[in-house]
Assembly symmetry: C2
Homo-oligomer: 328 residues x 2
């Protein structure tokens, strides 16, 4: 196994130490593994978290206009309830906290337990479960669909709504709407390697790729010979369109899985755009890059969200986080 | 070879098509292979370029506060003089154009020829050659040192000076100063694969890494067993410190080579920061991520720039490009 680490056992601590040094505007508690920023009194706060190995998700999305806190677990391991509870308490501004949770069994359970603890403290919690992946109905890690690329969209758009001073119920409703209007599909050319394991999560032949992959190296839909970018885009979009009619204006995220060069992601984005526009769907907003990764997996996921005017305006609102930032 | 492409022959065109669709604020001429934004009349403009395969460099740095134009060549191949000349003409605002050129033989030659053509048109050109890599004195592709990570710093800081309305001679002097105050050193755990070739540029054993690597897969200083992040940071910084005394405030860039997860780059940044601060050097500014890549190479480069108050202020100035953006 070749990685730029000290030891697998210190990976998360070491990475958080570096993250803290690189982003002094955020509060990083390396021991308790929570990344926070100060809440705005009287406003809703957003907390997310999940296993590490998907960077920049989630800590890279803490900042004005997006999350208030992130709780990273060990690699591919859910954060624990006490950790999520500590983050929730730290960023509560008195108007309630939205938990953004990817649909993995451990995450859902531990966020639910943390929500009960917060409720005991008198902090109102709403939860949105992100389950945008159309590839498989159940998986090694989930009952129902997996949460993948749409997590970024939920965190950005709900974060903007919270910033605007919307009440918890409204912020939660918007988050739910983003998830409901989003679908994702991923492919892998090579599996990632969990440092504590030391070998790739699965093995593909030199001329083989995996269709319908998740972000933990769990099995996808099928394997097949490596295909041109155009066919990969079409395969992913066929799967998405079979599940949600594509029309009007959409936001597209072409997301790298950690080991794929940016140049290839732009090739994929060109093909995704061409496919959609040939069918009368307008790509009004986009994001191309590594946002929800799977360690050093080679591959990409494609997320399509059907926009509304309100969702587009919230997407366009200023954001200032380590991994996503723009102004007016 | 496993890549998200259509064919090696269409890779650059396809990627530029995607880049154009993703970044409608920029003008992308896919046929002529130039990416531009409108110049400000009476202000200096900045043009850079080089072989593709190093994305987001350079097109990802076109935008307010940074470059005015980028000219991508084929993968690992210099842009041609006519292309550079076209870009220069397109963005000339009447106050001269700075060419930012990485020190590779083909790039230096072709930018020099383009500068002559521009001079014939009455456009005043200044050139800064970036040669920050301390690893090797001459290489397969260079006479003298290679230009690597410092290119981002030169483009950002000289771009801010141009935005401030400085004259060409001053912008060029600042660019030269940034290069003179910067040193880089890179390592690779796995070589990248040029699509048109189809196999990795070099082969390392499963327990081996390459020290002092460049951005084209050319040989570095030496090979050795894979080392912990702490030792890699120390080795790189020893090499840098042997060449330029490290003191006062510095800016550190920990740059991924395209195939390295962000989590590992933060581990490297933690070790680089610890090494420097133990020696009384303060890391006042930083950048962690993929900025000057080498296709899907696994590894990283470390760049250290000794700051001055002026350079720090220019670094902090607003910038709005696809790959680097922040406001006030």
């Amino acid at each position: 196994m070749k990685k730029l680490i000290n030891t697998p056992g210190t990976l998360l601590t070491d990475a958080l130490t570096g993250f803290a040094a690189a982003h002094p505007a955020l509060d990083v508690d390396v021991r308790r593994r929570i990344v926070t920023r100060a809440p705005t009194p009287g406003r809703v706060s957003l907390v997310s978290g999940g296993g590490s190995g998907h960077e920049p998700l989630h800590a890279g999305f803490v900042g004005p206009g997006m999350l208030h806190a992130a709780c990273p677990g060990e690699v591919f391991t859910s954060p624990v309830p006490g950790q999520i509870h500590a983050a929730t308490t730290a960023v509560s501004g008195g108007a309630g906290v939205l938990h953004v949770v990817k649909n993995y069994t451990g995450d859902v359970l531990n966020f639910a337990l943390a929500a009960e603890l917060a409720d005991d403290d008198g902090i109102e919690i709403a939860t949105v479960i992100v389950d945008d992946d159309v590839a498989v109905e159940d998986s090694t890690h989930t009952a129902g669909r997996r949460g993948t690329g749409a997590t970024v969209l939920v965190e950005k758009i709900a974060g903007a709504a919270a910033e605007n001073g919307e009440k918890l119920a409204v912020v939660a409703e918007i988050a739910t709407e983003v998830n409901a209007r989003s679908r994702s599909y991923g492919v892998a050319l090579r599996a990632g390697t969990v440092p504590a394991v030391g070998t790739p999560g699965f093995t593909l032949a030199e001329d083989e790729m995996e269709w319908g992959i998740g972000i933990h190296g769990e099995p996808g839909r099928r394997r097949g010979p490596i295909a041109p970018a155009r066919d990969i885009a079409a395969g992913a979009l066929d799967a998405i369109a079979a599940d949600m009619p594509l029309e009007g204006e959409v936001l597209v995220l072409v997301n790298g899985m950690g080991g794929t060069p940016l140049m290839e992601l732009y090739v994929m984005f060109a093909e995704v755009t061409a496919w959609l526009e040939a069918r009368g769907v307008r790509v009004a907003r986009s994001l191309v890059g590594d946002y929800v990764t799977s360690l050093d997996m080679t591959g990409c996921s494609i997320t399509v969200m059907r926009l509304t005017g309100t969702l587009r305006d919230l997407w366009d609102a200023p954001v200032e986080t380590p991994a996503l930032r723009w102004g007016r």
